[in-house]
Symmetry: C2
Subunit: 336 residues, 2 copies
DNA sequence: CTGTTAGCGCATTCAT
DNA sequence: ATGAATGCGCTAACAG
């Protein structure tokens, strides 16, 4: 079957291509009658404008990119849901790029995207990222960027986060309230500001409760799960086993739980765990695992909304603005 | 900063645009020397080819679409991971569309995608879909489609599934082995072949074990969670409470578990549950919930691979081929 | 091996 | 209110 184009429509109707184009774009300078004729034929033949021709001409793509560390993770899944919903409402398309926490991939994606494929970028940094020259380049190329969760503090643009410092503080306070004296913090990337803030909340909560902060109670985990496993196992096998653990991300909370089970450490009798987590299946979790749950869906919606708002205002350089949403502390070790 | 184009490169080097184009595409008919000059300047100026111009000309987009019911669900998250990985390897871009189980949205997306935005489509049907005319149109427009999991039996193309009939049988047999006499099946969409197959496995397992199959033990759930909740509650509040439940999807397993807890039905003493589920956090699940786990990541990879293979062969009409992967039965109620 | 020319489908400027 | 002509940036057919 032949492709339906403006040209073929024009021919069929004995009109000029430009007239058909204007009619379909609802231009004010086309008579109602002509518009009607054009629209009805377009509908009949299921005319679909070629997006590449249109984007080439208009220099805008109606497409945004989402760059993420990973997706097999409830937090990012929910964020994508939020983004996709807002994108649909605005008639935009969503491209997904996964970095798998690799700085190299992140930089490659971004350098590629300066070619005009997308009108804007939503992103959450990879844990490896410390050099931000690729982000700087993106900004210089006038493509609006909105960061969410794992933001880049040093770049002036819109950032959507949650109250990480307070959450870290609350989580630690929660463990202290449950009677913990020796609390360990499982960090996942010292490059990321969210980690730093959660960590600072942890440290301050200890201080405010007159508990000793010990450097060796902070376990710096990374992207290598094998290695993380070993580090946690070492911690929990030592003579100085903590009686509380605060995991800064879901994956570490789970890993930690698994090690505890392996070592037959009684939860929550001998050791209490709290972690960041966004499982919708929270009710199925082991009853001893309390969580800090971020409003992931809302984060996605807010981030996307901020981007689309900038499109409407035609401002390519976004103002430096922080949107802070609140996480929720969900207790699950109280009744047991 | 001015945009770097073939034209600007050509001007700078005193070459024709076509020569530059060929050099960058590593054409055999360009001298090594010229290639070198072109490549080094392109690199220096960070030349990025305009994807829209290129796609318009080549009539191919290096982009695929993934159409899914939802994503806040471990199965589909893992599938996307697999797809994205293969897409990256092949230098393709991935567009995501979520139908939220709406037939209307599914049809809209697909009709839109006949415009050439993508070179191929990977999809899993919405639960509402029974009319397949939109799928037929997609095929007629010569865009290759690969279905995974929620496939369309009636359309001849590549389909990637798991052994749903056998899984349904095994799950039911598992409950029977644990001593269940009255087993209920929670269906999620009678339109979908995967539901039908899982259901048939359930029915046959009952028969093979000389257990009575009762129509009222099949609960036809749908997309409305409130309604599903009520139906499950009614089932579990009746005088004929089943002693085993087989949930055909993760969401229903979770819902069922919640209702049991609400009604204070002892699990697994009074009632046993098994459900399809793809939680990576399986170790954190309540010990009583056994699962059938699909190889989601692998499904994504296989589906994407099949699509890219068809691109390489330049065959737009895919052969009718079924790839069946195996799910895994994970027991978690044996040791307790 | 390289240059000239044409055209992908669309939106827009300039005519009328 | 409509048509003709131009060009977005690129690839490819054709010419030399």
């Amino acid at each position: 079957m032949d492709q339906v184009t403006l040209k073929s429509l024009a021919k069929e109707l004995n009109l000029a291509v430009s007239t058909v184009s204007r009619a379909l774009n609802d231009s004010y300078e086309i008579s109602a009658e002509t518009k009607e004729k054009v629209h009805s034929l377009a509908k009949k033949l299921n005319y679909q404008p070629n997006p590449y021709a249109s984007s080439l001409r208009k220099r805008s793509s109606n497409t945004i990119a989402v760059i993420l560390p990973e997706i097999a993770n409830n937090f990012f899944s929910l964020v994508i849901n939020g983004i996709e919903e807002i994108a649909q409402e605005n008639g935009y398309h969503v491209l997904i790029y996964l970095t798998h926490e690799s700085h190299q991939k992140e930089a490659d994606f971004i350098r590629h995207l300066t070619n005009g494929r997308v009108d804007g970028v939503l992103m959450s940094l990879s844990g490896e990222t410390d050099d931000i020259s690729h982000l700087q380049e993106l900004k210089n190329s006038n493509i609006p960027v909105v960061f969410f969760d794992r933001i880049c503090e040093r770049l002036s643009t819109v950032k959507v986060t949650t109250n990480d410092y307070e959450s870290g503080y609350q989580a630690t306070q929660h463990l202290i309230n449950k009677g913990c004296k020796q609390i360990s913090y499982l960090a996942f990337s010292k490059n990321l500001s969210i980690d730093q803030k959660r960590r600072q909340g942890y440290i301050d909560a200890l201080k405010d409760n007159q508990l000793l902060f010990r450097e060796d109670m902070v376990i710096n985990c990374g992207n290598d799960q094998e290695d993380n496993y070993k580090k946690i196992k070492t911690l929990l096998s030592s003579s100085q086993v903590p009686d509380g653990i605060f995991a800064s991300v879901e994956l570490l909370a789970i890993l930690c739980y698994e090690v505890c089970r392996e070592l037959e450490l009684n939860i929550p009798g001998k050791i209490k765990i709290i972690g960041f987590s966004n499982l919708r299946t929270a009710s199925l979790l082991h009853p001893s695992l309390s969580t800090i749950t971020q409003p992931a869906f809302e984060i996605g919606k807010q981030a996307a909304s901020a981007l689309f708002q900038s499109f409407r205002k035609k401002q390519l350089v976004l103002e430096d603005k922080k949107i802070e949403l609140l996480s929720e502390l969900i207790e699950r070790d109280s009744t047991k």
